[in-house]
Amino acid sequence: MKQLASNEKVLMKGNEALAEAAIQAGCRHFFGYPITPQTEVAAYMAKRMPKIGGTYLQAESEVAAINMVYGAAAAGVRAMTSSSSPGISLKTEGISYLAGADLPALIVNVQRGSPGLGGIQPSQADYWQATKAPGHGDLHILVFAPSTIQEMVDMVFDAFELADTYRMPAMILADGMLGQMMEPISFPEKQVKQFDKFSWASCGHQGKRSHNVVNSLYLKPEQLEQMIQDRFQRYAEIQEKHTQWEEYLVEDADLVVVAYGATSRIVRSAINTARNQDYKVGMIRPKTLWPYPTKAIQQAAQHVKGFLSVEMSMGQMVDDVRLAVNGKVPVSFFGHTGGVVPTPAEVLAEIKKLLGGNQ
């Protein structure tokens, strides 16, 4: 395949950009199962992996795929799986095991309408699942929320690196719109950081150490508690160092809209129109959903008159906005669910409704 020149732009679909970025970030082990609207991730991997000496395996189910990721990660290689909402539910047991065994891996969720089998149009109704309970137990996973195809690429690199640094699972939480749409992108030229996993991975001891066991079963309560407490210390460090967000026209804003992913593109468009009509409105866009930019919202709460969370759900992230605002100013919600995408006109109307007297 022809090498890309430095900064050369190509036009890519979100799903294939995720897959190619993972390959360029050194992932050579993909285990998946088809489901709309993420199937192109698997289809792309099926085409590319054999040509570069990697492994693509279509598992017999999502449960099998996530456990293959567990095995590959335990052997010390970069491993990945992808699915869409119902399939992610099937993977949650495996995600908890990954977290409990301190294993790095990348899980992609291209969300669709839910609950149950739901629909196949875009949604953000898996926010609670991704950020509160991606599996059973006391645990967090890193959750990245890209809003452009370029960010999907960049965040795949970040996600693998942070997952390896802190030895924990990372998720890219996208949606059907991002997965299916096309945008021009370029691939970063950065050197992929190498991690020495010999000390903990089950990759052969070469006679240099006793054999490693990768496991999440600890039957002594005191030992299990200690492990979880150590893990939560690492979580606190991640919250301190790796929370990512973008602020857009927040400084003089009376109203701050909080939105992530594809929805933030719709909100930005509405804000631009509102600003032209002299409404003082801005946006805080979380780029990581765990860790969540609580401090940025707290800070904005010092000077704004209210917040509006816009989501493709019945209102899930709005809980975290309320926790951050802690009753200081009103927090409203607007959204659609089930695969219905809010329009810029609807968001604009909501902004005007809230800022009615403030123009």
Partner: protein
């Protein structure tokens, strides 16, 4: 517009090459030229960004839109409609928007016998040099082979739809002419035209004086555009 196309015009290509946008433009242009054209969405692979999304636009223009029964709904079942058999047999002008790659072309294979019987068809291969997996003529040819094998039909023309989405410049398009020429040669089919955003079609025309320019409107958009 693209003149002298046979009554049945079939659009195939790598997914994301711009098939749907081209198909919608062709259908509207043929209708405006007085042909009683129907637009057929044959995409059984991708539920997003497809011809069926333009039902309103087609209806407004008086174009019959033929789509899988469940297109645009939340039902994850690709299905074909019997209406298409009747339309192909009727000899009426058709623009058929096929799903991407060989996976999408498999549905076209189901109709290949019927289409060959009719005789008068064009199979247009849409290429975009800025798509990551089709940046060289050999790569584009490989995908065409797979499409021809799955569809059991032969390409009759190549349309260069190279673009970088919203950031495309006339120079970006002109730069792809050699690629398009090489691709057409290796596909053993004529390079019919370069399809270009109407806004800067004239500028591309200045840069590519010997090439047929097909100005198109951009209908496939994102919710915030």
């Amino acid at each position: 517009m693209l003149e002298h196309l046979k009554p049945i015009t079939i659009i195939v290509g790598h997914y994301g090459s711009g098939k749907t946008n081209l198909a919608v433009n062709l259908a509207l242009d043929r209708k405006a030229a007085g042909q009683d054209v129907a637009l057929v969405d044959l995409d059984t692979v991708n539920p997003y960004f497809r011809s069926a999304d333009f039902k309103g636009l087609a209806e407004q223009a008086g174009i019959e839109l033929v789509a899988p029964v469940y297109a645009g709904t939340n039902l994850d079942i690709p299905s074909l409609t019997a209406r298409l058999d009747a339309l192909i047999e009727s000899g009426r002008p058709l623009v058929i928007d096929v799903g991407g790659d060989d996976a999408g072309a498999a549905a076209l294979g189901r109709y290949s016998g019927l289409i060959r019987e009719q005789g008068a068809y064009d199979l247009l291969y849409v290429v975009n040099r800025y798509r990551y997996l089709t940046r060289t003529a050999p790569e584009a040819l490989e995908i065409l082979w797979e499409i021809q094998k799955a569809s059991r039909l032969q390409v009759t023309g190549v349309v260069n739809n190279s673009n970088l989405g919203e950031i495309t410049t006339p120079e970006d398009v002109a730069d792809t002419d050699t690629f398009a020429k090489e691709t057409a040669e290796s596909c053993q089919a004529p390079l019919l035209a370069v399809s270009v955003n109407r806004r800067f079609a004239a500028s591309v025309g200045d840069l590519l004086r010997d090439r047929k320019i097909y100005p198109i409107s951009i209908y496939v958009k994102k919710p915030w555009e």
